[in-house]
Symmetry: C2
Subunit: 314 residues, 2 copies
Amino acid sequence: MRMITLEEVASLLQENDHFKLLTHLYPDGDTLGGAFALAFALRKMGKKANVAVNGPVPSKFRYLTERYEDQDFEPQYIVSVDVAAPSLLGEQVMQGVEKIDLCIDHHRTNSITADNVYVDADAAAASETVWQLIRMLQIEPDEDIAAGIYTGISTDTGCFCFSNTTPRTHQFAAEVIPYCDWQSINYINFVVKTRAKIKMERMIYDTMEFYAGGKCAVVYTTIAMQKVLGAGDDEMEGLANIPRQVEGVEMGITMREKEGGVFKISVRTNDGINAAEFCKQFGGGGHPAAAGCAVEGDLATVKKLLVDAAEAFL
Amino acid sequence: MRMITLEEVASLLQENDHFKLLTHLYPDGDTLGGAFALAFALRKMGKKANVAVNGPVPSKFRYLTERYEDQDFEPQYIVSVDVAAPSLLGEQVMQGVEKIDLCIDHHRTNSITADNVYVDADAAAASETVWQLIRMLQIEPDEDIAAGIYTGISTDTGCFCFSNTTPRTHQFAAEVIPYCDWQSINYINFVVKTRAKIKMERMIYDTMEFYAGGKCAVVYTTIAMQKVLGAGDDEMEGLANIPRQVEGVEMGITMREKEGGVFKISVRTNDGINAAEFCKQFGGGGHPAAAGCAVEGDLATVKKLLVDAAEAFL
C-alpha cells in the first residue's frame, strides 16, 4: 500500500485497462457521479470500464446512466471511488474482487486497503479529483462526464453552501456546467420535493426536541411514520439537515429507524463542532461537519444515549 | 440617456467623486452587497461614497456594514445599483436626488431613467458587474468588498442553484471567497432558520392548494398568522420558494397579506414558464423564473383572480 500523487494516479489509469469502479453502500451523488464520470472518460480513452453499484442506482440519479450500459469483460484493475472504509464496500460490488488496485477518495479518515491510495482531504468531493484526472489525461468532457462531476461536486457541498467548498470547487463547476444540464440536476437534487417528502418534513418538525440549552436539536423518524406517509428512501434524504438549521443549534441529530431494531444516526454540526469525533463514540465516522453512526435499541433508549453524549460533548 | 459599456462605467467611476449609491426598496442581498462593495471600493480609491438605503439595513445583512459609517459630504454623482424600476426607488433614498447619473443593473426589464445606463441581463446579479468594475479599476479586494460581492452573487442565485447562474458566476465566487467569511454568510442566508420561521413554514404548508392539474401551487400568509407566530419580515423571506419545490409544480404562487388590504404576490416558476410575463398582467414584473406584483382585495378574491390567471396561463 502506497500513497501516490495525482500524476501517478493518471499514469495508472493510462497504463491499465478493464476497469471495475467500486462505489460505496447507500450510494450518493459523489460516489456515483465520480465513478460514472470516470467510466465514461476511460471508455473515451478506448478502454473498458464498468461501475459496480450496491443495488440499483437510486431513481433520482438515473440521469447519470442514460447512456451507460455494462460492458462484457473480465475486470483486471479495481478502483474504489469515494469509499471511506471497508465496511462501505457492499457484498455486491466486492463480488469477484480480491484486492483493490487503486483507491481515489477525499475522506481524511480513509481506511481502505489498496495497492495505491490517493486521498485529497482538501477536495470537497472525490469528483473533484476525478475531474482533475480527466483534465490531466486531456479527455474532452461531454454531457455524461460533466453531469457526473457536477453531481458529485454539487451534492457533496450542498450546492456550494457547505464549509468544504473551496475556490477550486467553484472553478471546477465553472468548467463543467457548459457541458451538462446542471439546472435539471439542481432541480432534482436541491429543489423538488415529493408531496410525501413535504409531509415527512412536517412530521419530523413535530418530533423536534432541544437539549444542551438549545445547542442540540434531535429529530427522529420511525418505520411506522414512513409507512403512514408512504415515503421511500428518496423522501428521507436531506432530512438530516433540518435540525442543525434552527437558530442557536450547534449539533443536529437525526435518528432514523431501520429494520432490525437499529437507528441510523446522522449528525450535522455548525461552529466547528466535530461531528466525526462525536460519532466515533458510537463506532461511526465521517466529516467534521457531517457524520453518522448506527445505534441499536428502542427509540427512547437510543435518544437518551445520544442526548447524554451530546450534552457531555457540547 | 445612453447605454454605455463596462469600460465607460469604470471611467465614469474614476472621473467622478462624492458618490451616492442608491439601493432598491425591500433591500435584498444583491442591491446591498453590490452597493456596499462599490462604496468600499470607491473609498479605497480615495473617493467619498455613501450608500442610501430605504429604512434600516435588514438585521441579517448587518455584517455588510460592520466597518461602514456614512461620510459627511454633498453628493455629486448618483448611481443606482440593482434597481429595476423607478417605483423601487424609495422616498428616503431619493431625498435631494434630482437625477440619476449612472444606473448599474442586471434586470432585462430595467426602466430607470439615468444619464448613463449599464444593464447586463446575462449577469446573475448586479454584484457580478460591480466585481468586474472592481477588477477593472485594479482595486485590491478586502473582506468588506468580498463579503458584499459574495452576498449579492450567492443570494441572487439561491447559492448557485437558480438558472441565472453561469460559469462566470462560479468564477467570480472562486475569486472572492478567499477574502471573506463566506461560510458565515451562507449560514446566515441559506441555513439558519428561527424557530418562528420554522413554525411559519409549517403553517404555510397547511395553506397549500394545487390547481391546473397540480402544475400550480398556491400558499398564503396573513397578517393574523404572522402575529400569532411573532414572525418578523426576516421570517417571511424564502417562503416564496416553497410552493414551486413540490413535484410537478411549474408555477408557485405565494400570497402575503400586507397592511392596507393588499397582497404582495411572489411567483416562482420552473420549466421555462415566464413569471415576469404572468406578473405583468397585474402590473408587476421581474425575472423569467422569479417575479412579483401587488394585488388589492381580500384573500378569497385575490386567490381566485390569481388561480384563474394561472390556469389560463399554464
